[in-house]
Amino acid sequence: MAAVQWHSRARRYESELQSCGLEVAPVEFSDYHPLKSITVTDSKSRRGARKGSTSSSSSSSSSVAPDPLSSMLDGTDPLSMFAAASASESPPTLSQSSSTGVSDSLGDLGRGKRREKEDEVGVDFEPWSSKRGEILARFTTTEKLSINLFMGSEKGKAPSLASSAVSEKVRTRLEELDDLEEGSQRELLNLSQQDYVNRIEELNQSLKEAWASDQKVKALKIVIQCSKLLSDTAVIQFYPSKFVLITDILDTFGRLVYERIWSMCSDPHPSPDSFTADEVNDTAKETCLNWFFKIASIRELIPRLYVEVALLKCNRFLTKCGIQETVPRLTAMIRGIGDPLVAVYARAYLCRIGMEVAPHLKDSLNKNFFDLLGTFRQIHGDSVQNQLVLQRVEIPVYLTLYSPAIHWILQCVSYRAPEALLTEMMERCKKLGNNALLLNSVMWAFRAEFIATRATDFIGMIKDCDEAGFPQHLLFGSLGRSLACADPPEAERLPILNEAWKVITKVRSPQDYINCAEIWVEFTCRHFTKREVNTVLSDIIKHMTPDRAFEDAYPQLQSVIRKILTYFHDFSVLFSMERFLPFMDMFQKDSVRVGVCLSIMDVFIKHQQEPTRDPVILNALLHVCKTMHDSVNALTLEDEKRSLALLINGFIRMVSFGRDFEQQLSFCVEARATFCNLEPVLVQLIHTVNQLAMETRRVMRGSHSRKTAAFVRACAAYSFITIPSLTSIFSRLNLYLLSGQVALANQCLSQADAFLKAAVSVLPEVPRSISIEGKLRSSEGFLLDFINNFLSALLVVPDHPEAGVLFLVRGLLNMVQDYTWEDNSDAKVHVYISALPLLAAMSQESYLYSIPKVDSNETLYGGDPKFLAEINKLCETLIGQVLDHLKTLGRDESIHRQGSLAFSLFGCLLAHGDLRNNKLNQLAVNLWNLSHKQGYCNTRTSVRTLEFIKHQAQQPDMVHLSDVLHRLTLQSRT
């Protein structure tokens, strides 16, 4: 087979390109084109007509991009309806203009209803569920708790005496009641907090079970017992959490009863939101009434109150104004609770259910608050003091127990309340003595704007408060919270900060101090410059450094950093704060430190618009990045490394010294030393340096001066010594190739040679399988890709004068031959086949592409016949190898592979070989036949190949192809 002689076909790239170029066909407006925007005018106008207003249809076509989905679904598309609904949540003026187009008649209807309920609770009302967890987490205890459950003592004995006369139903109920009474009188002592929570949860479960098994009386008894626990203020620190747990049960109960009665007024089901008592049938009403009679006979005040509140919603079944009458009564009833803490939580529960069920009843909410003010003196009364002494609870701690409830009440009261009402409430709070507690809640719950405009007054009031009572730092914390959301008048800002900080800086306990300071940092950042922030930071450092107090305050300190980062996006300002880096030094726990660095880098990458060369930023960020980098160890997850590398890369990309290329390079040198453990960063650095070299070339317009030539050589040297430190073999290969290309472009021939040689010498190291995303994959595909890429680069690389002809190509092919390919793989042959086009391209008189100012082999050899003969010899060897392989395949029964390989060699011959040569011609025909012998080839491809040949044969110097064409027969598959 060695008899094959190769002759490359002469190519005229220019004319070929011209003949291959696609014509630009203008698209007519009416033509169909997939990329053209769709305008469905027809259905739009139909929609407008249905709505009965022409104006809306015209506005829709202009303002809204026509949506093919909505037009197809004839307007009732749920998604666009949803969009319309959410659009109308925003301010009304906006919704008017924007949603008319999208929303259909249904959406309009919904919006009308929404407007009707304007006084109801909107999304801006912070729901109870968000407070719940906070309370549970905050009010905990290590003391032992007890649950006291007496099942059934609230019913008088009188009814059971009369049992001879009562109906059967009542009797069974009473018996059931007796059963419970006997079995379940128990007291659970010495429960830890967790046990207690578990017990309550058990009760909740048994409530649900009892309900599900139709034991309504038992369910009611459980609920009564639970709410009775709320009258017990032993272990008072836990009371708020207890309240949360037990009201959960009450909520469940209220829901169960409501749903049951609701299910009774079936057919026709009135609409769930807006039914009136008239639509409810008698059975449902009677059942509901029965519940209320039962509750009314609960002996003790607190259970009666709580259960009735839980069932408040059920009043809707009875009368239209039932709720309206009940809420004031319940409000008054709470006055009967002597313990102020119990009373205030009962009010909070009433307000909560009131807001849910009847948010329009603002008056009762206000009444609740005023009643609270009326009984406020109780908090400092004798019985409370005695209790505190008994339980050994400090007054400030005791007062904070009130906060969640009063916050909640005030939040309900102040929600969308008129300014006048808020002012009145504040005035009334002011008049009371010991009002710090109220003041705190006012600042929490009232609108931030309201507080902000009166900030100076508040500071005055806070100062007037008794030191021994409610902790002042909490008061300032609450004020700071409001000021963080709303702006006080401009002139007052600095005095406010000064006054506030005067107090804050005197707080002794580091934990209290940082909790408060953290809040005020936001206000400071919002309104002041770096000078003030710097002062604040130095104060924090001063407070937190002694005794390493910062160790317990990492979350707060982190939040300080976060707040500063939200307001200071200009990093030159940020790092010019003297105290910022010392502040950072307080993060001494590695994980926290890295977290802070991450957030800084995150902000930097997000907000830094332009590349920087500011030495302050660079130094600081290099330090930050180094911290991140140094956190990497053997245990670091791959994912973490990736995200760290991403951030550092973002930083490196943002560094630019403009025309000062040398400085940039030295920065890269420094960065390489700093970030040596993160491979992606090294890769990025190499890319940066390569880019630098190309930038230099651009600046010099392609011709380097002596100085720039030295510089680009330095760049190449940088890459050359950096690449070997990478572990990923393909990164190395690709970077060698890329850097080689860059070196070549910069006329550094020996450097380019070195890169490419290095790439070739690395080739044998490529493992047969590599791990990708944790899975082992064969590397063959990647290797083939790389080799093809490499081959195409080799076209322009001039031969080294001292090495032989086609030194690199030969080297590569030798490596390919020696490489241990996978068994049964055709990869090697594929490489051989793909080397043929390169060799063919090299034998052309002028090359397909070249690099300016670099002489390729075309000029070096100038079409020397010896050179061409060398090429042809190489080709013949390759073809010989391929044919040998084809033969072995024929033996090995792998005919399918044989066919496809033969076909690709045929393609190669057709495209690049000179088929006027008889031998080549014959070989091509043989290959065609071989590939079609077994009928494994793709008929479609064959047909298209034949068409291509026919087309080529029409060209003047390709006439010989028509002979070939005659000899190629298409086998139909049998």
Partner: protein, 309 residues
């Protein structure tokens, strides 16, 4: 109200419309008798019996244990009526519903009293449905109570507010008045003539108290009087007790008094020749943490007149 006869699987039931919310006197008691059976049922007639009875029982306290046991006063029949719904014959298989109506006509000049379940006086109305069957099969019977409300009063009630004051001096059943702590509670009831369907309301203010208050409770008591040969017996028993204040409540802040009259166990004040139900009274209890005598203190107050409008 179902009876399941296991042998022949007959579901025998009846249903009275408007049973729970109660009937006014002079209204018509209406409903259906339902018989559900797989096969046809042979019977000797289905009858409905309506009965209204006042049961009186003497308290052992007022007449002695033995008298109380033996001398129970004869029940007074207010109304009785019997109709045959279906004559002897066969009820076909499947579900058969037979509607019925009873006018509430009293015997002679007797008046229907409102349903009431007390301790010594019980006024109860029942409706019984019987299905007589041949000797071999058991008779089926089903009883059901129904409520009767008396006619609303024509005359309009004028609310008569009552003020009250409770001090150590006003307390009854206290021996050593001097040992009691000093306190002053004022208040008022909005009316002593109460409508039975409306709650009892009022207000109460703790003006002063030397010791911390533990609880303030409201007790509803009924007074039943039964007449018999030996004279009459008068007894007061508690109906319900409701706490209106718990713990040391805020002084000089009005606390609401609010009590719903329990159904069945209360009825409009009633006075007849043989018995008397009424004079509902309301007691206010006050318990102190540091009670000298160790007993809760109670203050009796104000008899109530209940009626229906």
């Amino acid at each position: 109200m179902n009876i399941l006869n296991t042998k022949s699987v007959i579901l025998f039931a009846f249903h009275i419309c408007n049973i729970i919310s109660g009937l006014l006197c002079q209204e018509v008691l209406a409903g259906v008798v339902a018989i559900v059976s797989k096969e046809a049922v042979q019977h000797q007639g289905i009858t409905l019996t309506m009965e209204g009875i006042v049961n009186l029982q003497l308290s052992s306290k007022s007449v002695g244990v033995f008298e109380a046991f033996y001398n129970s006063v004869k029940p007074i029949q207010l109304i009785t009526s019997n109709i045959e719904v279906v004559k002897q014959g066969k009820v076909p298989g499947g579900k058969t519903e037979i509607p019925f109506e009873f006018p509430l006509h009293t015997k002679g000049n007797k008046v229907l009293y409102e349903t009431y379940h007390g301790v010594f006086v019980n006024i109860q109305y029942t409706l019984r449905c019987d299905m007589k069957r041949s000797l071999l099969a058991k008779d089926l019977s089903k009883t059901c109570e129904f409520m009767v409300h008396c006619l609303p009063q024509k005359a309009k009630l004028q609310p008569t507010p009552v003020d009250f004051t409770i001090t150590p001096e006003t307390l009854q059943n206290v021996r050593e008045r001097s040992l009691l702590p000093k306190f002053l509670i004022r208040g008022h009831l909005d009316a002593t003539n109460c409508v039975i369907t409306k709650p009892l309301t009022g207000e109460l203010v703790v003006e002063s108290s030397d010791v911390a208050i533990k609880s303030i409770e409201l007790q509803l008591v009924r007074v039943e009087t039964c007449g018999c040969a030996e004279g009459y017996a008068r007894d007061a028993t508690e109906i319900q007790n409701i706490q209106i204040a718990e713990g040391d409540v805020c002084h000089s802040l009005p606390i609401p008094i609010y009590m719903v009259f329990p159904r069945l166990f209360t009825c409009p004040t009633l006075e007849t020749i043989n018995f008397k139900v009424g004079e509902f009274t309301c007691n206010k209890y006050k318990s102190n943490s540091a009670t000298v005598c160790g007993l809760p203190m109670a203050d009796r107050c104000d008899s109530l007149f209940l009626c229906r409008v």
